[in-house]
Every structure is written in C-alpha cells, then in structure tokens.
C-alpha cells in the first residue's frame, strides 16, 4: 500500500488498550485519506444521536498520502469529530509537524474512543503505544504541557497535540493545540478530547513512507515547492502573512467590523495589518513541514501588559479579536490571541462571542451585574483580554460566553439571534458575503457550519476561468449572484481533495486538479483524473451532508444570519446583499439535493454511497 502506512491505531481510553487494524484499500481509493477517510469512518462508527461529550463519542485523527513527504506543507493532519458547539459532524485541519511524526510512527489513522478514568496522555512512537498518567499536567496550559512532555519523552523531535484548561472545562469551542501554536481550531475538538480525560498525544516516528514512484514524486514535489517559492501570488503571503488581508480587504468591505455592523474602517484595519506587524513586533518566523511559503508569524512584545514571545495572530484572529471588537491595539490583540493558544480556544468563535456580548452590553441585554463589573464596551482591550481568560476558565460571564453565539442568543432572546453571526452554530469567519457573494451559498452549505476553509470560494470570483479542468470557466464578478452556486460547489470539492491528501490551501494557489492527481499518483500508484477528483469531492461533501441530515439538519438550516443579509451603509460593499435563495437553488441542483436538503437517492447511488441510501430512505 504505497503512500500510506496501511495501519489504523485504535485506542480505547476506557480500557486503556490500543489495537491495530489494516486500512481498507478500496476505502482509501474512494476517499484518498485525511478528512475524506476520517468522515467515512465517523459515519460508520458514530451514530448521529451520539452526545459529542460522551464516552461513546470518538475523535478520528488522519493523515493522507502526501503526509511526511518532501512536499511543502505536508505535515498537516485532520481531526474528525462530532462538534459539541454545532451538534453536527466536523472536520478541522492543523499544520506544523505533528502529522509528519504521527505518520512516521507507523499509522495513518488514530481513533480515540471511550473515556479514561483519570487524566492521561498518549505516547505513540514507532509502532509502540504508551498510556501514561497526566494528572501533573491537568490544569496546565497547552504550551507548558507541550514543552514539558517533549522533555519527559526525552526526544526533541517529538511533537505534541495538547489541550489547555478550556478543553478540560468543556468550553464548547475549545481547541487542541500542537507544536508551537498550530491548531485544528474549529468546532470544539478540545472539549471532546477533554471529555475523554485525554490531555495530550505525543508522537515521534522514524519510519519512512514507501511511495509508488519516489523519484517522480520528489521531482514533482520539488517543482511545486519552487513554484511556491518564486510565485508572485505568494510573495506577499510570505512577506506579510495572512495579516496582509487587513491591509487590503477593508477597501472592498470584506473585513467585519463591530460585529459585522460596519462596512469599512480603514484606520482600524490597517492598525492590525501585516505591515504594522512587520514594522513593530514581528520576528523571524517558523515555517511548516518543507514549506517554501512561510506565512506563519512569530511576535515578540518586550514590555508592558502584553509581553509575549510566541506565535502571532493570523488574519482570522486579528478580525475576530480585533476589528469585530473594535480593538485597534495590535499588541493587545496579539496577546489575546496568545491566550487563546495557551488555553486552547478557537479564536474565531472566541472573538465573535466577545463581539456579540459587546453588542448585547451596548443594547442593555447584558449589564454590569452580568459581567461582574467589567465594561464590555467596544474597543475595550482590557475587557477583551479579561474575557478570553474568563472564557477559558469558565469563570464569571466567561462561562456564558463559552457557549458560543447561537446558544447565547437562544438564552438572551429578543432580537439577539439576528446579530449572532453563525451558521449551524459555527461563528462565521472573517470574510463578508456582502463583499464577495459566493460566501453566501458557501457559508450556508458548508458541511461543518459557517466556514471559509470548506471551499475558499471568493478566490474564484473576479478571476477569469477559475478551474478550467473542472469546467468552471467564465468570469464571476463579486457582486453578481450568477454562477455562485457553481463556484461554491467546486470550491468545496477542491477543499475536500486538499483535506483528504492533507495539504495546505496556500500551497495550491498555483496548482490545477491534474497536479493534485499527479502527486497522489506518484505517491500511491493511482493517478486520479480531474474528473475522478471532482467525484471524490462530491462524495465526501454528500456523505458529510447525509450525516448532518440524520442529525436533523434540513434546507432551512442552509441559511445566513439576518446581519449578513442586511446591507451596510459604507465601504466597498455598501448596499450590496447576496441573493442566497438563487444561489442555493443552483447549488442544490448541482449537488443533486432534494428540496429539504437530503441528498437524492440517485445522487447517493452515483457516488457509490449505497449504504447511505438505506439510512436516508429507510
């Protein structure tokens, strides 16, 4: 089985037992690996009615055929789980080097099930699995745990995936943290891990993956790495990181300000941008596995209240904790982001929940008695930092904010749901569907909830012939609804393939579907055609959607919040509102969905999901 280790590791935490299983070759062919494989296994093993925080819940961590190869960014891994925040199936992706070490330890997949009787950590190294007590680290932050466990195992190349206090306390958007500040951020996987009394997973491996055509693979991978090293498209990403989006996108109305209520605020956004970061607090930064892009940021603040020397904030974090809350102090936002990392919190959901609470405070729905005397006013950076701490620890009003915007709005009532900007319970990322209309159908239908990484659709707008090999040709202006359902469909399929190979989005801006097929072919011996890849993307999306349908989701849940469909008065998206229904009609037709959102029987059969037919049409 070339390109894979061919083995699945199953760890039952209740019985503290580890077993190995062979991977099914046909399943790998049908789903490639990564999240495709993980979602298939979740569908097979976790009934939709499972409580995400119960011992019956599972976490499935996967790598793909390009993991641990000389391809840039090929150290990523996927985490599949049922989300405690949304109640539906979720898959999240993380970078760094943990994925490489895990695969080199001898496995492609790790399934975690049950619940340990006391806090434990796993140490997986070259086909050996050890389960150790973790009481000494329970309560410690993720960075401390990571650093100490590397010392405990005595191998500086070991990588650690850990939770912080937020996961231990069951904050619904708690996140696992790996390496020096990477995270499979969304959906609350940290809470699921904490519910199993699992503090950390240490991995170290020295085994090599056998590739079908190692020379061919190396040559192709090196050419991709060189292309990314020299590409004009990537230059700014390397120089300014994703924070560059703050410098640029304010002008087109893409960056949410003041809980999505303001259309543009140049000064605020630029004060949090990549240039400001480079000119003030940025220090030489680390890159992921073999990566020639190097978008990661590392910041050092030497004095004052926000002293830190750690991974810096990305664009989404700058938006969620910065512009959404009207905080224009880059040092304060960087520090708040750092706290999210050490405590283990999804920065998008955290910042969005704080911004939502600020609006509630402004409207009088929350008062000083609720907040324990903290003035939750727009731009209050002390309050921002305090809220992150309270959320992580489940203290004061932080316990309420840790529920996420949907549950908070449900409890507050009145018109709060109108400005709880989430889809299916997942807070929207920092790109505005009023600026790029394709985000509308993308957010509404993304299978894990409002998400920009299950289809980065906006990069195909305002671009001639976005994916010719998949028939996505033509020009799609950002403020037109025509063809946006089509863009969403293909953008999602592209992301499913990347998440199944497990490869970073940024490494593929210069690539075509046939390039991805070639890489998989050199690795595994089977080269998918562009047509086969789009079928796999469709299969993965449909399977995920089918699971969510069994969780109770219907077309009515493919919606956007009221705030996202209310025009803003200023900026580059002033007055513009997408026609979600028109986009959804096109999308549903392309995906082969019935009126209520269920995948049609014909669609399931065409995609080889015969078992799902029995589940949905019993």
């Amino acid at each position: 089985m070339k390109g894979y280790m061919g083995r699945l590791l199953r760890v039952n935490l209740t019985h503290e037992k580890a077993t190995e299983e062979a991977l099914d070759a046909q399943m790998l062919k049908d789903y490639i690996g990564g999240s495709g494989l993980g979602l298939r296994l979740m569908y097979n093993e976790v009934p939709p009615e499972t409580d995400p925080l119960s011992p019956e819940a599972k976490i499935i961590i996967t790598t793909g055929p390009v993991t641990s190869t000389p391809l840039g960014t090929a150290g990523r891994f996927q985490v599949c789980f049922k989300s405690p925040l949304t109640g539906i199936l979720c898959d999240s992706s993380s970078g760094g080097h943990w994925g490489t070490q895990f695969k080199q330890s001898g496995y492609d997949v790790l399934i975690l099930e049950g619940k340990a009787s006391r806090p434990v950590y796993l140490y997986i190294h070259d086909n050996q699995v050890e389960i150790h007590p973790a009481e000494d680290w329970w309560g410690k932050d993720a960075y401390t745990t990571i650093n100490e466990l590397v010392k405990v195992v005595g191998d500086p190349k070991a990588c650690v995936l850990s939770i912080g206090p937020a996961g231990e306390k069951g904050v619904l958007y708690a996140a696992m943290i790996n390496d020096t500040g990477r995270t499979p951020g969304r959906g609350g996987n940290g809470a699921v891990m904490g519910s199993k009394n699992l503090k950390a997973i240490v991995v170290r491996g020295t085994q090599k993956v056998e590739l079908a055509n190692p020379d061919g693979y190396k040559k192709y991978a090196v050419s991709v790495n060189k292309l990314n090293a020299k590409s004009d498209d990537i230059y700014n990403l390397r120089t300014f990181g994703t924070p560059e989006v703050m410098d640029n996108n304010w002008a087109v109305g893409d960056i949410p300000v003041k809980n999505w209520s303001l259309g543009s605020y140049e000064e605020l956004c630029v004060s949090l941008g990549g240039k400001k970061m480079r000119d003030t607090i940025l220090v030489p930064h680390v890159a992921c596995h073999f990566c020639t892009i190097g978008c990661s940021r590392w910041v050092k603040i030497e004095e004052g209240d926000y002293k830190m020397d750690a991974a810096g904030p990305e664009y989404e974090t700058l938006g969620a904790l910065g512009s959404m809350c009207m905080v224009d102090d880059l040092n304060a936002v960087s520090y708040a982001a750092h706290l999210c990392n050490i405590y283990g919190l999804d920065t998008i959901s955290c910042g969005s929940s704080i911004a939502f609470a600020m609006e509630c405070f402004e409207k009088g729905y929350l008062d000083l008695e609720d907040t324990g005397g903290i003035e939750l006013t727009w731009g209050n950076k002390q309050a921002l930092v305090k809220m992150v701490e309270q959320i992580a620890m489940g203290e004061g009003i932080g316990k309420f904010l840790g529920l996420g915007t949907r549950k908070m709005a449900e409890q507050i009532g009145r018109d709060a749901m109108d400005f709880a900007v989430q889809v299916k319970g997942l807070e929207l990322p920092m790109h505005d569907p009023r600026a790029f209309f394709s985000w509308a159908s993308n957010y509404a239908t993304s299978p894990r909830g409002g998400c920009h990484l299950h289809g980065m659709s906006a990069i195909y707008e305002n671009k001639q012939d976005p994916i010719p090999e998949w028939g996505l040709t033509g020009f799609y202006p950002r403020h037109s609804n025509e063809g946006k359902g089509k863009i969403t469909r293909f953008a999602q399929d592209w992301s499913h393939i990347l998440n199944s190979m497990v490869m970073c989005y940024f490494a593929t801006f210069t690539l075509k579907p046939s390039d991805l097929g070639a890489l998989i072919g050199f690795a595994t011996g089977y080269e998918y055609t562009p047509e086969e890849l789009v079928v796999i993307g469709d299969r993965i999306n449909t399977l995920h959607r089918a699971y969510n349908y069994r969780c109770g989701l219907r077309r009515v849940d493919d919606r956007l919040p009221v705030r996202s469909l209310t025009p803003v008065a200023e900026g580059g998206a002033a007055g513009a509102v997408p026609d979600l229904e028109a986009q959804l009609n096109e999308y549903y037709q392309l995906r082969g969905l019935e009126a209520d959102g269920r995948p049609a029987r014909d669609t399931l059969l065409r995609l080889g999901l015969d078992d799902v037919v029995a589940d949905l049409y019993a």
Binding site: D232, D233, Y235, N236, L237, T242, P243, E244, V245, D247, N248, N249, A251, V252, D254, C295, E314, Y315, E316, M430, H431, A435, F436, H452, L453, M456, A458, I459, N462, K463, Q464, F475, R478, H479, Y505, F506, G571, G572, A574
Partner: protein
C-alpha cells in the same frame, strides 16, 4: 492635475510604493491613465495582473475610485486629487 494611485498586495512592489502621485493632463480619463501606467510600468508589471496588449489591469485587480468599484468597461473622467485603489483581495486563514 494630480492622480494618486494606491496599489495593494504585490502591486505595491511592482509599482514601487503604496501611494504614488502622478501628474496628469486635466480631464484625463481612466483609460488614458492606464496608457500612462503602461508607459511607465508596463514592462515591470506581471502579465497576470496587467495586459500590455490592452493596457488594462487584469480582471482580478479590483479598481476602486471614490469608494466605488469600477466595472470593466467603465471609463470615467478623473478629477484632480482623486485616489485610485488597485486591490488584490485575498482570503486569509
């Protein structure tokens, strides 16, 4: 009269700054400005962002004048001191 170009993204590197003042004849149109841009920078602008044949920015460059996005065939007459934003929006993580 003065027209101010405000390029973003890699265009700042290609055009040599984030705020570029150009002295232009009074009553110049946007297309005539593009002719001047081509004369001055055409050789250095990457083909993915600028067409030397048509002397226009590529479709993915969003041009905004006075806060409004310029449609592809729009050719307004420009005013003294007007700022022209040349944007390359990007989706971040």
């Amino acid at each position: 009269m003065k027209i101010i170009l405000r390029p973003y993204g890699t265009l700042q590197r290609d055009l040599g700054g984030s705020r570029i003042e150009m002295n232009c004849p009074s009553g110049i149109t946007f297309f005539q400005l593009c002719d001047l841009i081509d004369e001055r920078w055409g050789k250095h602008l990457p083909p993915g962002l600028w067409s030397r044949a048509s002397r226009r920015f590529a479709a993915q460059v969003i041009v905004m004048i006075s806060g409004k996005e310029l449609a592809v065939q729009q050719n307004p007459v420009l005013c003294d001191g007007q700022e022209i934003l040349l944007l390359l929006p990007f989706a971040g993580g």
